[in-house]
Amino acid sequence: MTGPSDTLVLRDLTKIFRIKTGSFRHADLRAVDDVSVSITPGRTLAVVGESGSGKTTLARLILRLIDPTGGSIRLEGTDITRMKGAALEDMRGRMQIVFQDPYDSLSPWQTVGRTVAEPLILHENMSMQDATEPVARMLERVGLSPEHARRYPHELSGGQAQRVGIARAMITNPALVVLDEPTSSLDMSVQSQILLLLQSLQEERNISYLFISHDLTVVRYIAHDLAVMYLGKVVESGPAAEVFASPRHPYTEALLKAAPRPDPHYKTDHVHLLGEQPSALDRAPGCPLYGRCPIAEDVCADTPQELVEIEAGHRVACWKRT
């Protein structure tokens, strides 16, 4: 299932936050719990799930912005789980991120040119002078003009600002780009432009994307593979088309049924799960969905089910559906 040519391989990746619950008490919050996934070159793995399911923590772990509690991360065959200092700085050019809010992620007092050049200066020891030429080329590639290099973020539209974020992420020719809700603050017609751009960059450079999103319409279009997270756990994963066509985990099912579609004849299923999403702190020891799951049985409460392969590459963690 995973091979030496994979861009990214996560094994049992876990992040536990210690949360203060009283003056002398702490509790463990398993924000990312035993996650194992991989991405091959030129492919997109989408991670979907509701807020608090651990998607952004997962991204920060992969980018080594925070340290994992357990498990391992391999980028292009190199174990970067505990990498530090200069070695890690060199590695950073191989993995980049595009954030949700295009304006928030650009520093307001820095020109577009300087922002896009930064990864070259930081990770490839280039001077600002030497970076001018590649920056101009990159700006053109993302549909801006070299003149935009002199502008400041407040002089850009939302779509242009997001193109700058993409240019910055692509300029070191990374193997992996993490896209954290890259289109959710954009209008629909602009969103289309950004999706097409991301797709053509991927084809041209064989980049791997980790695409975090809660917008299932966008995911349906862009993802090759899909991992569905709930309270820190991957509950279902597999080829995106297959998971969309035949979701097996009750949570995936609920998510797909609750998403409204731009078709007045389509009936949204408004209430599929019971109650509210609990905090990751008071999760049942068994299946994370226990308590909200409409088909749960006693075994689900206290015995966790592992991801089980039910069809080539399609894996589900559910006692009733495996």
Binding site: D187, S189, Q193, L196, Y221, P260, R261, Y266, H270, Q277
Partner: protein
């Protein structure tokens, strides 16, 4: 059928910039009207005009405006606007609740203000309202502070507050943006149900065409400070007359059915930009000379109304 709210020629200017350039719309009794459009189209400003929540520096004018058959002056008729006959559900529920007061007190205060209830009576009614928004443990929520509740629960509380004045119209501005998909579905269902139970009508502002298709009876599409197309949801999604509305819907449905993302060339104008006679003309695939020089006429076809020189009527679309 006579309209509950009818607005013609609503204009808003802020510091000399035209924000709304003649909004016409109509909400009928018992219906939910969706208002869609891209960022800056003027959706929120339209709602704020009706609710008397415009910024102080804004100036407003209109041709006619009636509510339940009476003349109604937006931004002056405070009684009507401020929650009594029109209720408001905000976009950021947690932000719009007061963080330092318990939820119960905030509902009770609203009831005392709008319906002149005594404290004890108001508490009874507050618990009823919490029940009516399907909160299963109203006593606990009554005693909670907003930060102790989830986003979805805060939105239920805001809906309860919007219902406190027994409004005839409920305006919701992006009520589910930022909420998770499964919670969004529950809130939309709740909104539809409470509007029906209270014999009210609704105006739902959103940029999500999926949300509109799910809950709205009719839809108004805004572009650059005007409603450019209005019709039943079925008609607008089947074949919108206005090229902009038509493309917006087809972008959304083609992406939804697995097609390639499509774009509308160019960008939405900002207030103060010089506009062609039809503001959409520079981006419109059907534009001809008249679109740049002459105000587009108002046309009515099969329950739709649109401002356009070259609308996409069936025979035109098939050419």
């Amino acid at each position: 059928m006579s309209a509950l709210l009818e607005l013609h020629g609503l204009e808003v200017e802020i510091e000399g910039l035209p924000i709304l350039r003649g909004v016409d719309l109509e909400v009928r009794p018992g219906e939910i009207l969706g208002v869609v459009g891209e960022t800056g189209a003027g959706k929120s400003m339209t709602a704020r005009s009706i609710l008397d929540l415009l910024p102080a520096k804004a100036s407003l004018s209109f041709d006619t405006c009636t509510f339940a058959g009476e003349d109604f002056i937006p931004a002056r008729a405070r009684q009507l606007a401020r929650g009594h006959r029109i209720g408001f559900v905000p976009q950021r529920p947690r932000g719009s609740l007061n963080p330092v007061f318990r939820v119960g007190k905030q509902i009770v205060d609203t009831l005392r203000r709008l319906r002149g209830m005594a404290r004890r009576e108001a508490k009874e009614e507050a618990l009823n309202l919490l029940r009516s928004v399907r909160i299963t443990d109203p006593e606990r929520v009554y005693r909670s502070y907003p930060h102790e509740l989830s986003g979805g629960m805060c939105q239920r509380v805001c809906i309860a507050i919007a219902l406190a004045g027994e409004p005839e119209l409920i305006i919701a501005d992006e009520p589910t943006t930022g909420l998770d998909v499964t919670i969004q579905a529950e809130i939309l269902k709740l909104l539809g149900e409470v509007i029906a139970e209270h014999n009210a009508a609704g105006m739902l502002i959103t940029h999500d065409l999926g949300v509109v298709a799910d809950v709205c009876d009719r839809v108004a599409v805004m572009y650059a400070g005007r409603v450019i197309n209005l019709g039943t949801t079925l008609e607008i999604y089947r074949e919108a007359l206005h090229p902009y509305a038509n493309q917006l819907v087809s972008i959304a449905s083609s992406l939804d059915s697995g097609g390639t993302p499509r774009e509308i060339p160019g960008r939405v104008p900002n207030p103060g930009d010089e506009l062609a006679a039809c503001a959409f003309a520079p981006r419109c695939f059907r534009a001809e000379d008249d679109c740049f020089g002459e105000e587009p006429p108002l046309i009515h076809i099969e329950g739709q109304m649109a401002f356009c020189h070259h609308p996409l009527t069936s025979e035109a679309a098939s050419v």
